[in-house]
């Protein structure tokens, strides 16, 4: 071929591949003659006459379609083309042998078939056959619900045999025995003739209907036991009739089985529905059916009574009804009558003569014999009493500061430990001139006053938080009664003491708090006078006072308690919020302490946090806190946050991402705020404090004396605390919504700091004095053999705070708590994981992660010495806690306001360190000495801490993946700075 392409000149006519054609032909011939050596069938190739392989397409046979390519040829079959059965799905082709027969074959077949002629169809076979064919034809004409032909076996079209026809003509009817039942000869010819007529009409009707014997009522008539007269006994052959199913019930379900009344009812309704004009045709049908199926007594009736059939016509309807319901009606006759008798009763039901249901009547509660119908109102009366009882008159403290301290201390102790302590110390110190105030000597008045104040304060703290939520009536419960309800152990107190202190209302607490500021003890009204946050609006101030009164006192409410009547609802609500907030602020006593700035500052407070009062979140937060501390034993402190799982995590857990399609997270509100405000340490504080408060419950360290030692001391303490805070205004909005009261006090204290920075030195002095007094008192308590709930040096304990739990510093603090061997000097503490502390010790030293080991060491020396003290306390108190007896002191602590949160925070830290020092056992005085030392040390250490904090800060920058932590770190650092500054 290549050659051909190369040459461009042709000579002659080229032979057209002659040899190829020849060979192909040869092959074909050989194949046809079978000369070819036969291959295995599946290897043989099918070729056409030309010897070519023909391809028929993949769906029509491929290379070999049909038997050796016979498809499409004369011998082969034609492949069926695809026909969609979508439209005519139900159409199923019924193949018949006739389909496959030619015309002539059919003719042949026709001629060959044998059959009896209709004339001689004795047994009715031919007739049956014909009837069946007829039915088939009919069926093909009309659509069928069930696709496909109905199987012949199921539905047999019936014909009557000639015998039956004869019998029918003779007057026999279905259901009758053939023998002549009419033994009596009373039937006359007319009667016979009528029967014949009836039979005729029925047989005619039968031809009209497809299945002539499906007659309603027949079954019943069969089921009904025949009466016993001889006529009926002769009607032996039952006829099974097919019911056309016309209702929506399940097969075989008879809804009226046990309630034939309803059947009757329904039937009458149906017949009612049929109009009169419509009546004739259906009722005719019914009648026809009815005839076929007839119950014999009804027929009898017809026979018996209807002599003039032609004249009157049948009352088919009636016949029908009677027909069916004869037996049941006779049964229910009486009932129906009774039904008719009573209108208004659901037909079919009958009123019971005697009802089983009786109204239950309960006897009224029996009034006890000794009941006196007079209610005691404990609250308002006592309030009035308390208000009228300002306690011992305010006395200027004695000049001798030592004596004053002593008196303060003793008063605190007595208030805490009860009257017994006073008696004991009086006995002990009879000879001691210093204690002459106990027996009425120098300073006795001051002592009395002081003692009273302390007791007020103590009881106030008990009540304060509890009362926030309680109703005004409940507010007047005394601490004792509440304690009894709660199953608490009552305070050991003389009756007189408890009288005066325990019943105090919150007004007294206000009084106390304000009395810190005012030289003269003011009464309730006066105090509120002083605390006028709404001075510029007298009406509002008035309402506020009324609000306060209502809040803290029982008694009747005026109708327009919420505010002026002209105010709108919203405005009233807002004002109420304001009042709540203001009252809270007053109640906390924080602002009363620095109430020299009071009004202006409070206004600032209000204005700065203007939104907070409308939000209502503030008060709620406090409530929950108070509540938590109460129900702590049962319910844990539960909080919910939003948390956004990453989509891939949800995917891996086979869950749907709840935040799918939502914008990327605003991590957490708190942290967002913090990133905005760098100096803020509020959010964190809130959290930490809440935790601390929760924790505080299980550390039964009484600390109420911390603030109880002297009011000056308390003042100073707050000063000290104040220094810790940063100046931050813009946080207020956030705080207002989310923080608790501790923040508020911090907030106000900030002002305090700003206002009088000169107090610092004084504060330090006083704290020192207080500590000395504390030492003395504790040793005194020991001497007297009393259990003295130790106080917490709150200002000192903040050292523990200086290490925030977050960030780099935690590596040391947390570490030492549990996981790793710490490098603390008191290394009898073991880590949970390890026995080989010795082995691990060096590692811990090697590993001081952030290079601030020096700091942590120093910290441990400090906190360690504290820890001793705390440990001791805890050991003392542990049994109490186990016994679930919440001591009142604990409650005091929990409910206490002002400086408690700060203390508790430190306590928390100490609690963590507790186990480490559990076996160190030194007495309290040395503890206190330690404390002093460490205190001074702390001061000295200010600079070093600063260094370490800065180093840690530097370090934190290296951790770039900690960027999310950064706000907290900021915060922790600011906190550290704060402590540094305090030091």
């Amino acid at each position: 071929m290549d050659r051909d392409e190369d040459d461009f000149v042709f000579y002659g006519t080229p032979i057209e591949r002659e040899e190829e054609i020849i060979s192909r032909k040869k092959k074909a011939v050989a194949e046809a003659s079978g000369n070819l050596r036969t291959l295995v069938p599946w290897k043989q190739e099918v070729r056409d006459e030309e010897g070519r392989r023909r391809f028929h397409g993949a769906f029509s046979g491929g290379f070999s379609a049909g038997y050796y390519n016979t498809v499409g040829s004369k011998e082969g079959w034609t492949p069926q083309s695809f026909v969609s059965s979508r439209k005519n799905r139900a159409e199923v082709k019924q193949q018949n042998i006739l389909n496959f027969l030619d015309e002539d074959e059919k003719e042949e077949l026709e001629g060959q078939s044998l059959g009896t002629s209709l004339q001689f169809d004795t047994f009715g076979f031919t007739a049956a056959e014909l009837a069946r064919k007829q039915a088939e034809k009919e069926q093909q004409k009309r659509p069928s619900a069930i696709p496909g032909p109905v199987p012949d076996e199921l539905v047999l079209p019936s014909t009557d045999s000639i015998g039956v026809k004869l019998l029918l003509k003779m007057g026999w009817r279905h259901g009758r025995s053939i023998r002549d039942s009419h033994t009596n000869k009373s039937y006359d010819a007319r009667r016979e003739a009528r029967k014949a007529f009836l039979a005729f009409s029925s047989s005619d009707a039968k031809k009209q209907t497809a299945d002539p014997e499906s007659v309603p009522g027949e079954l019943e008539s069969y089921i009904d036991p025949p009466a016993s007269d001889d006529v009926q006994s002769s009607e032996s052959t039952p006829v099974y009739v097919l019911y056309p199913k016309q209702d929506l019930h399940g097969l075989g379900f008879d809804p009226y089985k046990h309630a034939p009344e309803f059947r009757e009812k329904k039937r009458s309704r149906l017949s009612d529905n049929k109009g009169i004009g419509y009546r004739s045709a259906p009722s005719m049908d019914n009648n026809l059916f009815g005839f076929k199926c007839k119950n014999y007594d009804s027929v009898k009736k017809l026979d018996a009574e209807d002599e003039d059939v032609y004249a009157s016509g049948y009352d088919f309807e009636e016949t029908y009804v009677e027909d069916i319901d004869e037996p049941s009606r006779s049964i229910t006759e009486g009932k129906q009558k009774s039904v008719r008798k009573e209108p208004g009763v659901l037909s079919g039901f009958r009123l019971a003569l005697n009802s089983d249901y009786q109204h239950e009547r309960f006897d009224p509660p029996v009034v006890p014999k000794d009941f006196v119908p007079h209610h005691k109102f404990p609250g308002p009366l006592e309030t009035g009493y308390k208000l009228g009882d300002p306690g011992p008159p305010e006395v200027p403290p004695p000049e001798d500061t030592n004596l004053k301290l002593l008196i303060d201390g003793v008063a605190t102790l007595v208030a805490r430990c009860g009257k017994l302590f006073e008696d004991l110390s009086r006995e002990k110190n009879q000879s001691n001139p210093l204690f002459s105030f106990l027996v009425g000597g120098n300073g006795h008045d001051y002592y009395a006053r002081k003692l009273w104040e302390e007791q007020q304060k103590r009881s106030d703290h008990t009540k304060q938080k509890l009362d926030v939520k309680l109703s005004p009536h409940m507010q007047k419960m005394t601490a004792e009664s509440r304690g009894q309800i709660l199953g608490e152990r009552p305070l050991e107190r003389s009756t007189k003491d408890s009288n005066s202190s325990a019943t105090s209302a919150d007004a007294i607490q206000l009084q106390y708090n304000l009395s810190d500021t005012f030289t003269k003890p003011a009464l309730h009204g006066e105090m509120l006078e002083a605390a006028k946050p709404f001075k510029e609006d007298p009406a509002k101030q008035e309402r506020f006072e009324r609000f306060l009164k209502e809040k803290y006192q029982g008694g009747l409410r005026s109708t327009e308690s919420g505010g002026a009547s002209h105010m709108s609802e919203a405005a009233r609500a807002r004002e109420r919020m304001d009042f709540e907030a203001a009252a809270e602020a007053i109640q906390k006593g924080k602002w009363s302490k620095d109430s020299k700035l009071s009004t202006s500052q409070f206004m600032e407070y209000l204005s700065s946090g203007g939104m907070q009062f409308t939000s209502g979140g503030l008060a709620q937060a406090k409530d929950t806190q108070a509540e938590n501390s109460i129900t702590k034993e049962v319910h844990l402190k539960r909080k919910e946050y939003q948390w956004r799982p990453s989509p891939i995590l949800c995917k891996r857990f086979d869950l749907i991402d709840p935040y799918m399609g939502k914008p990327p997270p605003a991590p957490r509100m708190k942290s967002k705020m913090e990133t905005l405000i760098f100096t803020s340490d509020s959010g964190k504080d809130t959290k930490a404090e809440e935790i601390v408060i929760a924790k505080g419950v299980s550390f039964p360290v009484a600390q109420s004396d911390a603030q109880g030692l002297s009011k000056d001391a308390a003042d100073k303490e707050s000063e000290v605390e104040v220094e810790a805070e940063n100046v931050e205004r813009p946080v207020d909005l956030y705080k207002a919504i989310f923080s608790d009261d501790s923040d508020d006090e911090e907030d106000t204290s900030v002002h305090n700091e700003v206002g009088n920075p000169e107090k610092k030195g004084e504060a330090a002095n006083t704290t020192l004095n207080r500590l000395i007094a504390g030492d003395f008192l504790e040793s005194l308590g020991k001497e007297l053999g009393l259990e003295v709930p130790p106080e917490l040096p709150s200002s000192m304990n903040k050292v523990g705070n200086s290490v925030p739990p977050k960030g780099t510093a935690t590596v040391n603090s947390v570490d030492s708590d549990i996981v790793r061997v710490d490098n603390a000097p008191s290394s009898n503490h073991e880590i949970l994981h390890s026995q080989e502390i010795a082995r691990d010790g060096p590692r811990g030293n090697i590993e001081p992660v952030n290079g601030n080991s020096a700091r942590s060491n120093s910290k441990y020396t400090e906190t360690g010495s504290f820890g001793n003290q705390f440990d001791k306390i805890i050991l003392e108190k542990a049994p109490q806690e186990d016994g679930k007896a919440k001591t009142p002191s604990r409650r005091h602590r929990n409910l206490s306001s002002s400086s408690s949160s700060e203390d508790e925070r430190s306590k928390k830290r100490s609690g963590r360190h507790r186990h480490r020092h559990s076996d160190s056992d030194s007495d309290s005085s040395s503890d206190h000495r330690d404390r002093h030392r460490s205190r001074s040390k702390r001061r000295r250490k200010g600079s070093s801490r600063e260094k370490s904090s800065s180093s840690s800060r530097k370090h934190s920058k290296h951790h770039k993946h900690r960027s999310r932590d950064s706000p907290e770190k900021e915060r922790s650092e600011t906190k550290r700075d704060k402590h540094k500054r305090r030091g």
């Binding site: 049962v634 946050y641 799982p645 995590l649 086979d654 869950l655 809440e690 299980s698 996981v819 932590d965």
Partner: protein
Amino acid sequence: MSVADLPKTEANVLRGHEGAVLAARFNSDGNYCLSAGKDRTIRLWNPHRGIHIKTYKSHGREVRDVHVTSDNSKLCSCGGDRQIFYWDVATGKVIRKFRGHEGEVNSVKFNEYSSVVVSAGFDQSLRAWDCRSHSNEPIQIIDTFTDSIMSVCLTKTEIIGGSVDGTVRTFDMRIGREVSDDLGQPVNCISMSNDGNCILASCLDSTLRLIDRSSGELLQQYKGHTCKSYKLDCCITNTDAHVTGGSEDGFIFFWDLVDASVATKFRAHSSVVTSVSYHPKDNCMISSSVDGTIKVWKS
């Protein structure tokens, strides 16, 4: 289950760890157990026959926790080297290492489908690691805890962590909520009841606390043992009838779950019982101790 059925008799002692055993865990069907120790190894045992099967060595420091998938094919472990190791059980090879924790990793768990490992770290974070992708970055970091997280539990939809900050926090992935229950005491170990309704939390004040998860109610407290400084495991028996836990004095305690009475206690080890694990079906328990042994207890 009566008290007599509690596993009190020592069936086997598994020796092999050099140094303290920090965790002992049954696998999901209870036929095998795994232990992790201070000797930086993980060991696979047949506790019923007392046979040591395999040792997994790769950790650079002590191994603190180990968990095995429900199909026994993979392990995950964590420890002092701040890494989570993802092992193939059969070959003993490390498939992957997850780095990222800034401190020691205290606890580790697989999720139901063994596709995610969740680790609880000393760095106050819970991290979820994807076993399916090849990324070594955590797919989720939960850093709302304020102190070291000691223990983590997973349900089908939740991650639960117990921390030294005294909280047990439940992170529900379905609704995207974090629920924090503050127990007020450093939480050492948490474990789920078998019905999943309660959490048993071991606190450092020598108390086990049973918390109702739905309401946050403190249902019961179990006391009597010593747990002040070690991470001691606790668990609920497979019938939810008793609570068991080790003590620092070497005892194992059984409490009645409902009335919190000490059902039985016996001296199990010469030293601190660091971990207990209860058989998922039988009355069988393993305990590990600082004395280097793992003991198998049967009734």
